[in-house]
């Protein structure tokens, strides 16, 4: 099956948007997951709820909120453009931002669980061997969390690939700029007589989803083999 130019553009854009969304939200995701798993602080329940909000809110609400806050005329968006020249409105960066926010709770949940499963006694042992808390985190905690981080990334990536509602609300449906696979499919469905094109995109979407799940399972198994043992 050879892809048309149109399909290739949508596919590459989808991969770029999802990849950027996952990579940029990862450090923040690890930070939030660690806070939730290991630190007790006032307002933790509220913090937890806010992080999970995108999971339960209609994506269109998120798109709308992004539009009024991060758009060129938005409260934050205007400042960002003035000070740094960064704009999220109606371009692929906006699509990545929308995807990152919508997939964030999934990433945090997976990583948080991994943090909760790391044996604190190993970290204690590392401290008695002369390691600072930061070195313990980098050499013990993080490597032992690796399977959780990988599955969190894959979940977030898959969710980003499928993002539709907030993207179309926030950055519209611009060919080559914000028209990812779901948006392209939507366009075909809306167009009379383009059923076969829609079906081809459908198959592509299923193939990438399957591929990412298989790769994640393989990576997780590989990482798990190293860290599963309780010693």
């Amino acid at each position: 099956m050879i892809l048309t130019e149109y399909e290739t553009a949508a596919l590459l854009l989808s991969l770029k948007v999802s990849g950027v969304a996952v990579l940029f939200s990862l450090p923040l995701g690890i930070g939030c997951a660690w806070l939730l798993a290991r630190v007790e602080f006032p307002g933790k329940a509220l913090f937890d709820s806010v992080i999970h909000l995108p999971l339960v809110l209609p994506p269109v609400v998120i798109g709308y909120l992004l539009l009024i806050s991060m758009g060129r005329k938005g409260v934050i968006g205007e400042r960002l453009f003035e000070w740094f020249g960064i704009s999220f409105s109606f371009n692929w960066r906006g699509a990545a931002l929308a995807a990152a926010i919508v997939s964030f709770p999934l990433m945090v949940r997976a990583i948080r669980q991994a943090f909760e499963h790391v044996d604190v006694r190993l970290e204690q042992a590392a401290r008695t061997l002369g390691s600072s808390p930061l070195r313990v985190f980098m050499t013990i905690t993080l490597p032992l969390t690796a399977p959780g981080i990988i599955s969190g990334m894959v979940l977030a990536f898959a969710r980003s690939l499928g993002e539709f509602g907030s993207t179309i609300t926030f950055v519209s449906n611009i060919p080559g700029e914000t028209r990812t696979i779901p948006l392209a499919m939507y366009s075909f469905i809306e167009t009379p007589g383009a059923e076969s094109q829609a079906a081809r995109l459908c198959v592509i979407a299923i193939i990438i989803a399957l591929l990412s799940l298989i790769i994640s399972q393989w990576l997780t198994q590989k990482a798990q083999r190293r860290v599963s043992a309780t010693c």
Partner: protein, 362 residues
């Protein structure tokens, strides 16, 4: 010298310890579970913070509530071997060993690897190691940080008997070969007997006895810990002569008091610690003649104790300045009119001093 003077409330247990631990040899911390043994060494290692007090290691203050000092574990220079080995599963044995090494010291590495017999394990991962091997790696890992002191929290408790037997010689070797003070938590008197030189007994968070192993072992405070079977005295002796014909060894306690024990392959003059069970001593008013028992020594009664529950009395005897405990029935005690100050002869069954009881002195 490790000077401890700390208080900590842990649920129902209030830990209040004031003690000085010597910076040489193995010091055993003994007590029943829940007495605060592990809590105490966690405080020493910096894994938990006392409510008040001070801890000083060789003039360096590790903790002082008053001065607001509380060094984190990584800056105390104290190694810690936990009950479970706590090896890092994602590092190889070599990686685990080197984890705490600040500077590469090949000679030290080689020495520790050799002492603990780790060479064949270096490339393996913790998952595939036996319990005893894991614990050896954990000990090596702690030693390679070059600690000023090593804490061991029942390192043998999670091992089965063959693994314990396998590990004990390594520990004895360590204490001999490395000039490193070790604080060894245990509730096993057998282990303590084989390893320790000093002993500290904790009960309900308080120190009830401390000092050299002999002192503590023969003290009143230890009596309740030992069942009638285990009641025993420890004596430090030196090897005087070997009777090859009967493979027995004569050991001397003082210039004029000596005992015969089953032969041990030791040089004349070597120091030895022998354990004499209180049940294996009988008392006579006159020196027995024509008896099969080889060890007959003059003793004098210091005091007679009776535990409520049984029909035996425990007689504390003086043997050339050393303490010897004997279990005698109440009937015999009354018949012989045993009372403090009385001079008697103690018959000790030589065979009671089996190889297991002959813990080598360091």
């Amino acid at each position: 010298m490790l000077t401890i003077n700390i208080n900590k409330q842990l649920g129902d247990l209030s830990l209040a310890v004031a003690a000085q631990l010597p910076m040489s040899g193995i010091t055993a911390i003994f007590g029943r579970s829940g007495a605060g043994k592990t809590s105490l060494i966690n405080v020493l290692g910096g894994l938990s913070t006392p409510d008040s007090g001070e801890i000083c290691l060789n003039n360096q203050t590790l903790f002082s509530r008053q001065q607001g000092i509380n060094l984190p574990p990584e800056r105390r220079g104290i190694g810690y071997v936990f009950q479970e080995a706590r090896l890092f599963p994602h590092y190889s044995v070599r990686g685990n060993l080197n984890y705490g090494c600040r500077d590469k010291d090949v000679a030290h590495f080689t020495k520790v690897v050799q002492l603990l017999g780790l060479a064949p394990l270096l490339k393996r991962y913790p998952l595939g190691l036996s319990g005893g091997e894991k614990q050896r790696v954990a000990i090596g890992r702690a030693l390679l940080t070059k600690p000023k002191m090593l804490l061991m929290d029942e390192p043998l408790a999670s091992l089965d008997l063959p693994r314990k037997r396998e590990l004990i010689p390594y520990l004895i070797d360590l204490a001999k070969n490395l000039d490193l003070p070790i604080v060894y938590v245990s509730h096993s008197l057998d282990e303590i007997l084989q390893l320790a030189e000093h002993m500290l007994v904790l009960e309900n968070g308080r120190v009830i006895a401390k000092g050299s192993l002999q002192q503590v072992w023969n003290s009143e405070q230890m009596r309740p810990w030992l069942s009638a079977q285990e009641q025993s005295s420890l004596l430090e002796v030196s090897v005087a002569e070997v009777n090859q014909n009967y493979s027995m060894t004569r050991v001397t306690l003082s210039d004029d008091v000596s005992l015969w024990v089953n032969s041990v392959s030791l040089q004349c003059g070597a120091k030895l610690r022998v354990r004499i069970h209180a049940n294996h001593i009988s008392l006579c008013r006159i020196r027995p003649q024509q008896t099969s028992i080889r060890n007959i020594v003059p003793v004098s009664v210091i005091e007679v104790q009776q535990r409520d529950e049984d029909n035996h009395r425990q007689v504390k005897l003086d043997l050339a300045g050393h303490t010897l405990w004997a279990n005698v029935t109440c009937w015999a005690c009354d018949d012989l009119a045993i009372k403090p100050g009385l001079s008697l002869f103690a018959q000790i069954k030589g065979v009671s001093m089996t190889a297991a009881d002959l813990a080598q002195s360091h």
